[in-house]
Symmetry: D2
Subunit: 333 residues, 4 copies
């Protein structure tokens, strides 16, 4: 089998590095680095180990190299610039930023606080959550890879919507490792500000909220979300609280099993068993455990993913496999 040639833009960021790690083990893909001026080398590299070949991050170079697809691990502003260029150069595009996730310019404007410069592509983009949109993804030209928080939250909450008492609201208390904040140094991700610390941010108005609403059908007033920073490199754990009457633990587990029986990357736990970050880090799994007290109707779900894998690079490769017609799990197990 010939190898597909896949460009990676933004390869020095944490998602970009993760993409290269995954693609290096993928049997049917040859990665190519798309070089920006910003990709300066900031650490010494071993002699004779320079990594994949590099071409300029331009439409001409991508076209000349006949790339089958391009993965954009770039800031949303850069993605809005590059996506049309790469599509015009004949490559399919999987974008890991928030640029193309929210479907409408109004929605984007509200949550990102800025105008969208590519409304046509925003309308065209397919939201790349395979467990939900698998068939559309196969035929897409432009895929918006989901946010890290919404990937876990959506997979964990979707089966709950028919079971819970939504009038009491759903609480999603989300915690993430620091790599989710990107690689650019700021006071917020400085070591001494994060280590031996834990902090909440973007309570109720995080820009990942609308993705969860879109994926689950929840209305905004029903959903309380807080993002929090764990002093670790990678991993997301979300503790999701709900209330339900007339349900049983057995019934709830059955609903999740029905929904995810054939999903290769969703794993369930017996009642009362919870995943932690170590359960999923460096894997493409989304793990879901829950506990329900039928007597009082209190319930909670604990879900975990690796924010850089199922929450970014791994899911991007899962989407890549789908658009290339490869087995969905290739390079990911």
């Amino acid at each position: 089998m010939n190898k597909y040639t896949i460009g990676v833009s933004g390869f020095t960021g944490y998602s970009g590095v993760e993409l290269l790690t995954i693609l290096a083990r993928h049997p049917h893909v040859e990665p190519v680095l798309l070089e920006h001026r910003a990709d300066t080398q900031d650490k010494p590299v071993p002699r004779g180990h320079q990594g994949p070949r590099r071409i300029p991050c331009t439409g001409e170079a991508v076209s000349a190299a006949k790339l089958d697809a391009v993965l954009l691990a770039t800031h949303q502003h850069v993605s809005m610039e590059l996506a049309p260029v790469m599509l015009a150069a004949g490559a399919k595009v999987i974008d890991l930023s928030g640029a193309f996730r929210l479907r409408t310019v109004e929605n984007y404007q509200r949550w990102y606080g800025e105008e969208h410069t590519q409304p046509a592509l925003l309308a065209e983009a397919v939201y790349g959550l395979p467990e939900q949109n698998r068939e559309q993804i196969r035929n897409a030209r432009l895929i918006a890879n989901p946010g890290c928080y919404p990937t876990a939250a959506s997979l964990a909450i979707a089966p709950l919507v028919g079971l819970a008492d939504l009038s009491a609201g759903i609480v999603c208390d989300a915690k993430s490792g620091v790599s989710g904040a990107g690689r650019k140094p700021t006071m917020k991700n400085a070591f001494c500000e994060v280590t031996e610390n834990f902090s909440a941010y973007s309570a109720l108005n995080h820009r990942h909220v609308p993705e969860v609403l879109m994926n689950t059908g929840l209305a905004e007033p029903q959903f309380s979300f807080t993002a929090q920073l764990i002093p670790c490199f990678r991993g997301i754990l979300e503790t999701i609280y709900f209330r339900a009457l007339g349900r049983t633990a057995t019934g709830i587990l059955a609903a999740y099993e029905a929904r995810y029986a054939n999903e290769p990357f969703v794993r369930l736990y017996d009642h009362g068993g919870f995943p932690d970050l170590a359960s999923v880090n460096h894997t493409n799994f989304c793990d879901i455990g829950f506990k329900f007290d039928a007597a009082t109707g209190r319930g909670l779900i604990v879900t975990a993913i690796d924010n850089l894998v199922k929450g970014a690079a791994g899911q991007a490769v899962q989407n890549l496999n789908l658009i290339l017609g490869l087995p969905e799990t290739e390079g990911l197990l």
Copy 2:
């Protein structure tokens, strides 16, 4: 002013070490170590720096030394043994374990899964949350120092009870540094199991839950609590979710200000400002910030304490100051 002589039992554990750190700076207290067989030295000690003087952890020794009070930083089983002995030896007792917090033997039996061996002392003990029981504490002989999670949760939730819609429930998503689990090595607090990890435990049935119910008047079905382990040494942060209709952020802040205006160790934040662990670590403060969306009725509180200070040793010294008739903040600012 003469110094009070105060015994410390369990001085090699994390709360015990913290007690000694605080007492070393306290102008009116001379600490004495009460030596158990279990207090083996496990690290080298600098020459000529052996710490406070040591006496055996027995009633005779305590009586002979005329200790004014004894602080028990011991396991609940040891505390149940030592409390009557120390009281009989003429010392007031402040117990940092869970032995004397729950008022009734039934409650203790339910949450600790074992019988209480000192029912009379359990009935006598005063719950040592000064912001709630200040006057009773001043006259107590035996004080049950509150649990770490309930200290933060109770101070943060109490003013909310009259404001929130309790039928939607109150969610307390609690996170703690590892020192809360004690110093005895287990798989659960082993470095490699905790670092780069984050995990939930004791969901819905943590033994600190009844303290919060007792302190706030919430009924068990109204309260969902999960404890979680942060990969850091110290600190507790709790994210508390509520729903309320017909309230405003200004009104909520006013309720907290009214309640805590004269409390030296409770600090409030402007609407939308949250404390993190760094705000409170190595201090006796309980910090409380909140955010409320009046349009949808969604609200949350972020509260933080140092589990070893306001959640254990600092609060014990605050109680000690009260029973000795000293200024409540002595040694704690």
Copy 3:
């Protein structure tokens, strides 16, 4: 190509888990878990993901399953028991413990402070450092996988021996992540004892010292070694100091290049460029950088490996590839 069936004993320890991670991606190996009574499940496992098949850790079971080789990720005492049993059952053995590394019973007695119970196997075992003993390894029945510290130290120091002024001594200041201490909970590897801390242990008499002497030809008085604990999960970094007169940086680099030109898992850096743990973690590489001040003769080397990969499981698979006649890098890049 048929798959080789390979048993793994001690699969719940950190090296054992790493072995399973590597073998899961190895195209020519099917791992089988050899189950002890000690391998109790201590964390919840996702439904339907039980891992490789399990057989008892006995000679009969290994013989019946026709295992091609057995990897022992066990304590040295268990390894001394299991190695003869597995060899008798027809499996080749790669032992990751210190049981078979030191060649003579006298040497073992001195450094491990106990008698060796399998002197014949000790004499037979081949020391599994492929960069040094590749040909012997191919034909071995029993391989002693090197210690983590000596793997890095030996590869970094060996080319230096002809260049440095040995009368001034070689200093190896070694630092390791906590997983090197194994998974059994002790006070020494408890989270709160390690985090925000850094400590030295086994100065001058660490039991890994004789391996370095054996591999480099250094005499004990020429070599000063200290082991130290970094508050992180994995990775070893060693800073090695030497003095040399009449040498140049160019000449030193040339000596290393000559020695390691064809080694797939040794990577060198330009003069003045150093690896860190992030350079090698989750890889089987040993990275070596150096700095030399010709004017004063002061030099130092910085070398790094992942203690669980090149320092344990990865090197074991490298050795496994050699004894199975597979490409040496299979499953490791």
Copy 4:
């Protein structure tokens, strides 16, 4: 006793915050914040807890406020600007930067790679290592507070100089927590670059080297120094290797005891006992342990300080006590 009024410039950096923590407990000092334009608030502050009073960081304001002394926790460039201004305003100055440590403009030029703008003050400044220069410090107008690495290295090495074989060189392998790199966010101190990592930098040419040479009398070719980053907030540990013939462990300990018998902040350990970071963090102690193998002449010292206390703010307050004529340990035990 009246309180001395002491200005603090650079109070939002890590050393500055540590100064305020120490001064808040100092019975004879009232701190005043000297406000720069750069001291922007980057975190929410509890209502009603704004800290000490603030005045502008100008000569006029300092003069009007009659400050007794000013502590500069600022970058060396700012310190060179502020020191003459504050001296002219009648305040004594203790500078925590590297601006005034190296005595001559030539030395400064060589190690800092830039010109010194205050040569007269450089010549006048007294190096503030009390264990070495106590009497000069008492009478100084301008004190150069020592670097963090040199504080530990100088105290540990000074007694060794007459005992060791200097022709074999002294190796100082130094490790520091990240707060030593300051609070300005850079790629180097970003959380994800530091956590689960360990890296060496400035090998052989760190700008703290000349301070050690100055304090110990070692010649540069005799001294090999490497700085390394530990993934923790605070603390320095240095492992110092030497060779000596005709010495004994007893003799070496006696030499250290003779030198440090009356020093309140230097603590020694029995032969073979080493401090770790936890031994000294949040204290002003410099702890020194050692191990010596008389048979081979190999020796090593392990020394530890808190880089923010004895390595910066604590030592500054120790110097402040000396210039104010207060007991040297005031506020520091």
